[in-house]
């Protein structure tokens, strides 16, 4: 029913936008998340998160004395449509900032538009790195804040020495797996002990692949699956694992795209002990987190609503933007972008996230195990914050690159060897 309400809300919003368009006493925030199609399962939540944050900010007096107004569009899990909608948001609606995108392919599609029109995008999802744009702030994890620590945990704690990298066939899993493969080889894993497998979006017949995993894992060396499987395909994947009796004790699966939200569609009893790596878990008990969970449940009127990592990333991004705008007293993209660097905001799980000069955050990394109630309990965490690395140190093409948006460098891909900025 909340969606019916949302639908009415959208209608109301659309009409109010039409009537308010002439008045310049609001600050417009674009929300670019799929509300239909295969990614709706993950992205709808983020749209609601932004709305909740705006609502809260408005109740606290708005921003620069003005009310914040959300402009919600639906790119419908259609990657080219993301670019069109982004253009519409910036050119037509004249929004000051956009919160949006989930899959890397949608971000890649939006990127040229944002750069051309000099917009501002906050991207709240863990991704493959190898990018740093002047106009984008990445509040999700880079590979060194998720994938690399996860692999280290498996090696050191569980003694894993054989790796099955399973992913959905698109840019995020392909790049992440390339980084992981290079990293694993560098730390001395034999080539025959690494296997990479890709499946299409929404793949639902996992019998063959799970049986392959089983065979791969029965060679007497401790084996783990590193899963970059995205979206819907996870449910049948985990179901098949359970049915073919692949237990987390024999072959643990660590996932980078499975959070509390995705688990809410599965009976997690057979998955207990499989792992997930994120920068936030709902189960982490802190005052701020409890407050956030309650606020979320109130806002969605769902007493059992779950929260996840990209939601926290959205929260941090939004609040950092608010802080930056307050600092410079304007929503002008150039000024806000400069003011963003160094802005700090408290994580929900303790500690403070800092926006680094490469437009990535410093964050804590958590490894958790799936519980039978669909929650993920922390079994390992980093002692300090890990700064996000835009360009991986394990790929030959990006090893020498850094991103630094402070003066005088102001470059997203500066080569420290040739001392040159390749530009955008």
């Amino acid at each position: 029913m909340s969606h019916l309400r949302f639908f009415l809300f959208l209608l109301f919003l659309a009409s109010s936008i039409a009537s308010l368009n002439l008045k310049a006493d609001t600050i417009k925030v674009g929300v670019l998340h799929s509300l239909s199609g295969t990614m709706a399962i993950s992205e709808t939540t983020l749209k609601d998160t932004v709305l909740m944050l705006i609502d809260k900010q408005n109740k606290a007096g708005g921003l620069l004395g003005k009310k914040i107004e959300a402009v919600v569009v639906d790119p419908a899990s259609n990657w080219p449509l993301f670019a069109e909608k982004a253009r519409e948001l910036i050119s037509k609606e004249q929004v000051d900032v956009i919160f949006g995108c989930w899959t890397s392919v949608s971000r890649k599609s939006v990127l040229p538009v944002i750069e051309e029109l000099n917009g501002l995008l906050f991207y709240p999802v863990q991704y493959e790195g190898e990018e740093s744009s002047k106009n984008v702030f990445y509040t999700g994890a880079a590979p060194n804040q998720q994938a690399i620590p996860a692999v280290n945990y498996l090696r050191e704690e569980l003694g894993v020495n054989r790796w099955f990298l399973a992913g959905t066939d698109y840019v995020y899993p392909r790049t992440t797996n390339k980084i992981l493969e290079a990293y694993l080889k560098e730390i001395g894993v034999d080539e025959s002990d690494i296997k990479i497998n890709y499946t299409p979006f929404g793949h639902n017949d996992w019998q063959g692949i799970v049986s392959e995993i089983k065979k791969f894992g029965s060679m007497g060396i401790k084996t783990a699956v590193v899963s970059t499987i995205n979206g819907d395909a996870n449910v049948p994947f985990y179901k098949e694992l359970a049915n073919q009796a692949v237990s987390s004790e024999d072959i643990p699966v660590i996932a980078f795209s499975v959070g509390e939200e995705e688990l809410s569609g599965i009976d997690t009893a057979p998955l207990v002990g499989h792992l997930a790596a994120w920068n936030y878990f709902q189960s982490i008990e802190t005052e701020k987190n409890t407050e956030f969970i309650n606020a979320w449940r109130d806002f969605t009127r769902n007493p059992e609503g779950v929260t996840n990592d990209p939601m926290e990333a959205t929260l941090i991004g939004f609040n950092m933007w608010v802080k930056a705008v307050q600092k410079v007293g304007t929503t002008d993209v150039e000024k806000v972008e400069e003011a963003m660097l160094g802005i700090a905001f408290e994580n929900l799980t303790g500690g403070v996230a800092i926006m680094n000069k490469n437009h990535h955050l410093s964050k804590p990394v958590f490894i958790g195990e799936i519980q039978d109630d669909g929650q993920i309990e922390v079994v390992w965490e980093t002692e300090n914050l890990v700064p996000g690395d835009a360009w991986s140190d394990f790929l030959p093409n990006s090893r020498d690159l850094i991103a630094d948006w402070t003066k005088p460098l102001r470059c997203g891909n500066y080569n420290v060897v040739t001392k040159q900025c390749a530009g955008q």
Binding site: I41, T199, G202, K239, A242, P270
Partner: protein, 569 residues
């Protein structure tokens, strides 16, 4: 489930002894008795052990404050006390071990028959209801600890009185025995009376001998004994023999042993290849049965009636949501709910089909392009309807117990039950449908109308009514496949889209208007897919199949089984 039942039985057996002897002096001796009976000899306890419950209770309190890393050494200490801590280990393994926040007491939190949480004492059978879960805190474990716990439990249960417990303990420990455990295994063998467990022990001994025995004859004998066994532990042991120094008393013997081991490995590899082909074949049949289910409804509406129904996938989705709704209405009866939802899904999807036919398709007869567009619109409407009513998130449909797990034929080949059931369900639906079309008067009329509408009408058949019924039948079948799919894939608004294209492919490939064609088409596509997948990867194999189909349709536009046309159309 089975496992914990076994443990409970075993626990009751302990406590049955303990219960009548509330007498304080007797208790320790009861425990001692069990202790001697069950404890692993290598870990015999220190002499000064006091089996006083209070001491034990204090001892395990260390668990409440321990960090994850420091739990392992505590467990190793506790294991030395022997079987008395079995309930503790099992509760910890099953995630039922908690401590009271007030006094750090370690207790097990179980559930009574009504599903209410109760506190269970670890040393007696005492149970009491709890007030609030917030008074307790769970003692956490991780993967590594659980592996450790399983090993400890197996070790403690090796000499258990319960036959099933003992059997699974020995099975779990095979491959984990060390060289020096051979004497212990021999001792176990002498004690054992049960034939099937004896075989397991002999297997464990042979596996140990083949790797560690210094005498060539013993090794060869052991090799013969494990020959033909497909347990991966055999293969791994043999492989590790080849890699390492053989350490025989007579080094020249190794030249005799090596080729023997290699031959055996070759034999295993040959068998593995055979079963892997068989496995692919069974996977193909299973995928084929899903394609068949998805395509059968379409074979009626598209194949027989000639209506291009783009909302076919959404009718499947309706069936899947029906099983979700029925299940949430009767959450205690998962299996029954699934069976009940079969007729309900047929009815729901069928009536939606009838509505679509009545309001949309009826008016567009003979205009396939408009029908295509209109039904595509209907499919979008239905998807959004599902999104509005059930949210865009996937809904969870539980599988009943009898549909989970797999039928193990040998250690490297097994069939999962859910796919087995769905395979037979698909064949069943196919048979029913085939009989309906071929043998009933409705089927006769359907065929008559599809072959020559005017003539059928002239012979007094109410073609409009038959159209509505046929479409409803096809839609109802789509609903049935939705119920089956709810057991395998996501139940969400996009469920149907994934199957729409596949269904059309199957129907066109098999031959429009021919149910047998749909059957053969779906199974051959399924099997082809599963044989290509390991070679090309999931993405490329789909591409390859599409290319194959395009070429095939180019050569034979009428599909595998062309309909013998009696009309001039």
């Amino acid at each position: 489930m089975k496992r914990s039942d076994k443990h409970n039985r075993f626990r009751e057996c302990i406590t049955a002894f303990a219960r009548p002897k509330t007498n304080r002096f007797f208790l320790p001796s009861v425990f001692l008795f069990f202790f001697n009976l069950l404890a692993f000899p290598a870990f015999s306890a220190p002499q000064d052990i006091k089996n006083d419950q209070n001491i034990l209770r204090e001892e395990i309190k260390a668990l409440s404050t321990a960090k994850l890393r420091s739990i392992e050494p505590i467990l190793e200490q506790l294991e030395k006390r022997g079987a008395i801590y079995l309930p503790l280990f099992q509760a910890l393994l099953n995630g039922q071990l908690y401590f009271k926040k007030s006094n750090q007491d370690i207790v097990k939190l179980g559930k009574d028959q009504k599903g209410k949480r109760v506190e269970e004492d670890l040393f007696s059978n005492a149970k009491r209801p709890i007030e609030s879960i917030s008074e307790y805190k769970k003692i956490r474990t991780n993967n590594r600890l659980r592996v450790k716990l399983r090993e400890i439990i197996s070790r403690l249960e090796l000499e258990s009185q319960d036959f099933e417990t003992r059997k699974s303990a020995i099975f779990n420990m095979i491959g984990k025995f060390q060289k020096e455990d051979i004497d212990f295994l021999q001792k176990l063998k002498k004690q054992e009376e049960n034939q099937s467990i004896l075989e397991l022990i002999e297997f464990a001994i042979a596996l140990n001998d083949v790797k560690h025995s210094p005498i060539l004859d013993t090794r060869i004998e052991a090799l013969e004994q494990i020959s033909g066994n497909l347990d991966p532990r055999v293969k791994n042991t043999l492989n590790s023999i080849l890699k390492s120094d053989l350490l025989l008393t007579n080094p020249s013997d190794s030249q005799i042993l090596r080729p023997l081991v290699e031959t055996e490995l070759g034999r295993i590899a040959k068998k593995e290849r055979f079963y892997s082909v068989l496995e692919k074949f069974s996977f193909g049949l299973s995928l084929g049965s899903i394609l068949l289910l998805a395509a059968l409804g379409l074979a009626i509406t598209f194949g027989v009636m000639g209506v291009i129904n783009m909302a076919h996938g959404e009718l499947i989705m309706l069936g899947a949501y029906t099983s979700f709704v029925v299940q949430s209405l009767m959450p205690q009866q998962v299996g029954l709910a699934l069976i009940i939802s079969i007729p309900i899904a047929f009815f729901v999807a069928g009536s939606f089909g009838a509505l679509i036919q009545y309001f949309v398709i009826r008016h567009l007869r003979g205009r396939p392009l408009e029908t295509l567009l209109a039904t595509f619109g209907v499919s979008l409407v239905l998807q959004q309807l599902a999104r509005t009513i059930f949210s865009p998130l996937n809904r969870q449909v539980l599988s009943p117990d009898w549909m989970t797990g797999s039928l193990v034929i040998n250690p490297i080949f097994s069939l999962t039950y859910n796919r087995l059931y769905i395979f037979f369900f698909a064949l069943f639906i196919f048979t029913i449908l085939q009989i309906t079309i071929k043998k009933t008067s409705l089927g006769l009329k359907v065929r008559a109308v599809s072959q020559n509408r005017e003539m059928a009408r002239a012979l007094g058949i109410q073609t409009n009514r038959i159209d509505a019924l046929t479409f409803a039948l096809g839609s109802g079948i789509a609903g049935l496949s939705g119920v089956a799919l709810s057991q395998l894939v996501n139940v969400g608004p996009n469920l149907g889209q994934a199957y729409l294209v596949d269904s059309f492919l199957v129907v066109v490939f098999g031959g429009v208007g021919n149910l047998i064609g749909t059957l053969v088409g779906s199974f051959s596509l399924g099997i082809l897919n599963k044989f290509l997948e390991p070679e090309l990867g999931a993405v490329l194999s789909k591409v390859a199949i599409l290319i194959f189909l395009i070429l095939f349709i180019q050569r034979r536009p009428e599909g595998l089984f062309p309909q013998k046309a009696r009309t001039l159309s």
